[in-house]
Amino acid sequence: MGALLGVLPFFAYTTIFLAIPTIIVVVGAFLDGRGHPTLGNLRALAQPQVVSAFVRSTVLSAVTATLGAVFGALLAYAVSTAREGGLLRRLVTSLCGVLAQFGGVTLAFAFVATVGFQGFVTLWLEHLGIDLAGSIWLFEPYKGLILVYTYFQIPLMLIVFLPAVEGLKPQWGEAAESLGGSTWDYWRHVAGPILAPSFIGAMLLLFTNAFSAYATAAALISQGSPIITLLIGGTFSSEVILGQENVGKAMALGMVAIVALVMTIYALLERRATKWLGR
């Protein structure tokens, strides 16, 4: 009994600031404005605006997860061939640590300053006679957000995937080569299969990362709520329609359901990757 007292502060804290908020979302999704049980909030999820926001978020996350995973994996492999503890490795991993976490407002500004109306690349291309279509594309959910999201997905991929490529032993490559295998054979039959679970797992993590992102889009897009996080954020500031007080909670619950599904697959893959790489 005395031993349990030691973990009491931790569980008290996480109950108030983690468990209760989660319960509020889950239960609130099934209550109307006066606290009576209802399925109305879930039915409201079928509104075209909500459905298209979910679809856009999903497509955006899938595309940027794929792009981020491919380029991030290339970068991770390139960095893993550098000397451990060397300057390149330190620089790239610290830089990626910042860029993966920092995103948000800074990132939106950076892209506005680069390819926005007055951005230097836009002006420079204009000078060369190339018009970036008025640069409105940066503020469109697909084109603009895909570019900006990829910018924080690649660093996250490096951080998540680097330990996996570091697990590749140089002896395996040498063994394949001394047996007459080409580089392609090595990747096709040795490194590829070993890295596959980690790669797909990391890609799923990137998906949830993009799916949950709010700040970048909020700073970049000022009109409308094309993606689901902006739509939920909008329920905080806009007028609440009577009978729809808890629709925000239902949308939040929808997000949790999708993220939980993806993270479960991730956990299963991670277990397999750990087994193969002997980590």
Binding site: Y13, L91, S94, T106, S212, G233
Partner: protein, 272 residues
């Protein structure tokens, strides 16, 4: 030997090409920020924006929202790191010593925020924060309670890695048999041995808190990122300069951390 040399050469060419190309993609927006903040009204270059940013008098007088934001974020960094350490280090040590059966549960709780998007947390926290405001007032500093939850997964992983490298039980028993009380064990035995892990957990928290926007913005509180976003509507150049300065600060913190962690990296190499 020859095979290995050829292989190494190929790898180093590949490394240079990939790092350069992806590096260019990453450099462009940063260059864009530097270029934008050094534009002079009539064309040409000026450092006026940067001079303004580091002129505390002018910031205090003309840009009070930026000053408030910086102060709030500085306070939030300190509070979040302090609460995180005071809560996690004793709990995780205690669980290893006395309640090994609870390790899975503590891990699950700590990693849970990874599966709950910040925006969802905001929706659920709104009523909780109504109570916080009722008991403690409206100060932006209370955002720290939510930030501790956000940093839990990263702090847990860093501290767990640190605790795995030391023999907590033997250290604690040795100290206890010499007459040390539990506070002494924590403060003078466990904590010094966890120096690297504690630093890395703290630095990750600093980077996360400095970059946080979602929760502060939706609860209409002030922090650095909210201030920068507001400022951008009035003075885009100064806002971008402030954002870049914060980014450079966070990078410096993480880069310094990569050197602090050297001790553990070298021991890992010896194992392999």
């Amino acid at each position: 030997m020859k095979l290995r040399a050829a292989r190494r050469r190929r790898q180093s060419t590949f490394r240079r090409v990939v790092v350069t190309l992806i590096g260019l993609f990453f450099a462009l927006p940063i260059v864009g920020m530097i270029e934008f903040t050094t534009r002079a009204p009539g064309g040409g270059r000026t450092l006026d924006t940067w001079a303004t940013l580091f002129n505390l008098g002018v910031i205090d007088r003309d840009y009070p929202e930026l000053k408030t934001g910086i102060q709030a974020s500085a306070g939030l960094v300190v509070l979040t790191v302090a609460i995180m350490l005071f809560m996690l280090v004793p709990t995780m040590t205690w669980v290893r010593l006395r309640l090994p059966g609870m390790r899975r549960l503590v891990e699950f709780v700590c990693l849970l925020p990874l599966t709950i998007p910040a925006i969802v947390l905001v929706v659920g926290l709104a009523p909780v924060y109504a109570w916080v405001a009722y008991f403690l007032g409206e100060s932006s500093l209370w955002l720290t309670f939510a930030y501790v939850v956000l940093v839990l997964p990263y702090a847990y992983r860093a501290l767990d890695a640190g605790l795995s490298t030391i023999d907590v039980r033997t250290l604690a028993e040795a100290a206890r048999s010499l007459g040390a009380g539990w506070p002494t064990v924590m403060w003078r035995v466990i904590l010094p041995n966890l120096r690297t892990a504690v630093l890395s957990a703290a630095f990750l928290s600093v980077a996360l808190v400095l970059g946080e926007f979602t929760i502060a913005n939706l609860f209409s509180r002030d922090n650095l990122q909210v201030a920068i976003n507001q400022l951008s509507k009035r003075d885009a150049s100064l806002a971008i300069a402030a954002a870049l300065a914060a980014l450079i600060l966070a990078f410096t913190v993480l880069f310094a951390m990569s050197f602090v962690g050297t001790g553990r990296g070298s021991s890992r190499r010896e194992e392999a």
